[in-house]
Amino acid sequence: MSVKWLDRKFVLEHEKPQNGRDTMVDRQTSGLPLSEVVERLPQLVNGNPALLRRGKYVTTDIMLEIGPIPLHVAIIAGRIETLSRGPLLMRSWSFAVRGREQTWRRFWAVHPEPRFHDIFALAKFGEFRIEGDFRPLMTNLLYFKGLLESPRVLADER
């Protein structure tokens, strides 16, 4: 086998953190605390007319688990109406996307690394768990991908 590498060394495993800090992630992700990033979700979604047009038939509650914190997102006709930080007793949701804080941060980089750039890539390699009723997700897939990826525009903010 003759292998031609890229213009940089191709790393089969993702770059390991140096001294406890992942320098690649730090260069690309937002310096904002994750709590501030998620609080901007309603503004990012509701201020995007193209995304709202995609989601006009979407009315459901979903849950995003960011590390230990469950975040309940109530959507009506594509708009995020409420964002509630859990844990909350007996709160229902149609589907959930669960991941570690660091995984969400890497997913929200402006140009995420391979395998951290798509929810199904993350699920395939065990970084995200997607569970519940897949019907609202799959029947509005581009809308939900747009919603989940929307914080990437914040990645330049420090």
């Binding site: 089969l12 140009h111 995420p112 750039h117 798509d118 929810i119 890539a121 019907r135 581009l142 991908k145």
Partner: protein, 287 residues
């Protein structure tokens, strides 16, 4: 007033495939070594329009791309309405060889992506002498699944939207927006059940690893090119396959996903042109 017209010509050829008449649409541009291009599942020959308008390619290669039956402008065979479309390895090989012979292409280069990349491996195993080189984009002998393909064809899910939604993550984040969305538009236009039927090909012949020893790259050179953002066929999948094929050449493409020729043609050509130079050089030596 003059308008820009691409130097691409499209025509129809009538082929008998699996004992049934088919009308197959194909496009071509350029002159020289025949370069037969095989599109991805659910899409069609439009994925190769950038290669067909690249003079560095078309000055030396006759670039040809057909739309598979049930795809693009190649309608399904008569009676399709009562059938479930399912692609098989044998049917796909028959299509490629029958089309090649119908156009009188002598030992073409075949370049395929995704299912087109995958079929390059059985072509190398069974028909290496009939091609002057084989290029597999996003190709591997074995890949693990990551979604339930029944979602691709259900009455409660818009087929075009769900097909595009599933593959959207296979486009690299760096790919230009207009190329990304044109690639996804092709998926949105695929016929009902066609993507699902194409994926059947992966399930029916899911593991080609036991037969990789049948590939002799001294008979026909083999190039495997995979984008680093492809998580369906990962660079690791391709490297594992190539490790079992002495003489196989591997190119891992930075900042490219599953649809190299369509999602980022400017970046893709940086990787493709050296491969084509190598093929041209071999062609000159062996003529």
């Amino acid at each position: 007033m003059t308008a820009t017209i691409d130097p691409i010509v499209g025509r129809y050829v009538y082929l008998d495939l699996q004992g049934r008449p088919h009308r197959i649409y194909f496009e071509e541009a350029g002159a020289g070594i025949p370069l037969l291009c095989l599109h991805t599942a659910a899409s069609d020959g439009r994925q190769f329009r950038h290669m067909m308008t690249d003079k560095d390619i078309t000055d030396h290669f006759r670039v040809i791309a057909f739309d598979m039956p049930w795809h693009g402008k190649s309608t399904p065979p008569d009676g399709w309405q009562d059938e479930e479309y399912q692609l098989t390895t044998d049917a796909y090989i028959e299509l490629i060889r029958t089309f090649r012979d119908a156009l009188g292409l002598k030992k073409p280069v075949a370049l395929g992506c995704s299912i087109g990349g995958r079929i390059v491996l059985p072509l190398a195993m069974r028909h290496a002498k009939e091609f002057s080189a084989l290029i597999g984009l996003e190709s591997a002998a074995y890949q693990t699944g990551w979604y339930d393909s029944s979602w691709l064809h259900r009455p409660d899910a818009h087929g075009g939207e769900v097909c595009a939604g599933i593959v959207s993550g296979m486009v690299a984040p760096q790919s230009p927006s207009s190329n990304r969305w044109e690639t996804l538009w092709h998926y949105m236009q695929s016929g009902p059940g066609v993507f699902k039927g194409d994926i059947y090909f992966y399930r029916a012949d899911s593991d080609l690893r036991p037969n990789l020893d049948k590939i002799d790259t001294s008979v026909c050179p083999l190039y495997l090119m995979t984008g680093e953002y492809d998580f369906s066929c990962t660079p690791e999948n391709t490297l594992e396959t190539a490790a079992e094929i002495p003489g196989a050449e591997v190119v891992i493409m930075k900042e490219i996903g599953h649809f190299a020729m369509s999602e980022n043609p400017k970046k893709f050509r940086q990787y493709l042109l050296p491969v084509l130079e190598s093929i041209k050089a071999r062609h000159r030596r062996t003529r």
